[in-house]
Symmetry: C2
Subunit: 208 residues, 2 copies
């Protein structure tokens, strides 16, 4: 039998799915802002972040209310607590998309990405979009089976992260310190973003 309580749980998971799509959209826009040196898109990501934070606040309040009023136990308790952790993870992923947008904004009208690194940064951005989409699909379907795939995507991200450093340290690097710092930070943001997607997917696999 469906109850109002179960409807609340379902709605909460849907809201988390909504938050995941907001983060995916932010990351996609940040990638464009970075590669196209598009100030307007960068500003939109930065401005939209407070909407992500608002959804997190609503979700956290809903979790507290469910814990107080419904006293969930066993699997449902694990689900409710997992929602709390996943919303925190998603907020952090949104922040990382904002960090990338801010690098784009800081270097505008120049691009922060030297031409010969565009391919690699594009690939990191695509992996970032992919992992958050997969993590979101698994979450909404309450299906942890995408975890392995997301971990492999994360491995590819880590490999790109390491490879970028070797390029920065190569004698052929002729874009100076500023570009090296930008790329170091951008690469770190992408790498962390994928780590968070893995931790989200692990949580879904364990507790959903």
């Amino acid at each position: 039998m469906r109850t109002a309580y179960h409807d609340r749980l379902d709605t909460m998971v849907e809201q988390l799915g909504h938050m995941t799509r907001m983060v995916a959209s932010a990351m996609s826009k940040s990638n464009n802002a970075l590669l196209d040196a598009d100030l307007e898109v960068a500003e939109r990501v930065i401005a939209a972040d407070q909407q992500i934070d608002s959804v997190r606040e609503e979700l956290d309040n809903e979790v507290l209310s469910i814990l107080a009023l419904e006293s969930p136990v066993a699997g449902e308790l694990r689900l409710v607590v997992a929602v709390l952790r996943i919303s925190a993870t998603l907020e952090r992923m949104g922040d990382l998309a904002v960090h990338i947008a801010k690098v784009a904004r800081m270097r505008y009208p120049e691009s922060a990405v030297p031409a010969e690194l565009r391919g690699m940064i594009l690939e990191m951005g695509q992996i970032a979009e992919l992992v958050v989409q997969k993590a979101g699909s698994g979450l909404v379907a309450r299906d942890g089976s995408l975890l392995d795939e997301i971990e492999r995507d994360d491995d590819r991200m880590d490999a790109l992260h390491r490879k970028l450093f070797t390029l920065l340290l190569d004698d052929d690097w002729d874009h100076g310190i500023e570009a090296a710092i930008d790329i170091t930070l951008i690469s770190r943001y992408y790498e962390r973003f994928a780590d968070h997607a893995v931790s989200l997917a692990r949580r879904v696999a364990a507790d959903f």
Copy 2:
């Protein structure tokens, strides 16, 4: 009247205090490892991190058990949920101390920190030790009044973080790209560490 339930809550907060001291110790050792290029100390920080992670796991299990068996409400529910969030924050702070130790290890027997930046990195390390100690004291005393002070410490950290970038970008910088990348990442780790201490202190002020 004191009950077994209240004893459990108290013990949980004490455990969180214990975890905070472990993180403070990790950060203090990482600072030494980095500035003295001390491989042995770096290895100790890296090896000890799993103890921090274990305390987090124990705490998380205790939180789930309290939620399931005691059905806390109102202020006690907020406290219990806050413990969950703070343990996640502390685990992340421990990871950042490990990241700093790993930079020290990677550059051993050289130092990752050029001589003229030692003073600034030392100061960032001291602020990091300070904020985690203050956050831990406030937590154990269930006293949020240190928040303002911790936020001011964090402002100093942010100022040092920004100042480091201006030094890296200065025409006088003659330590090359590798040192610039190391300093960029180290500085970012310290800056994030202080951010986490602020978020921990905010949580204590709001929910303890």
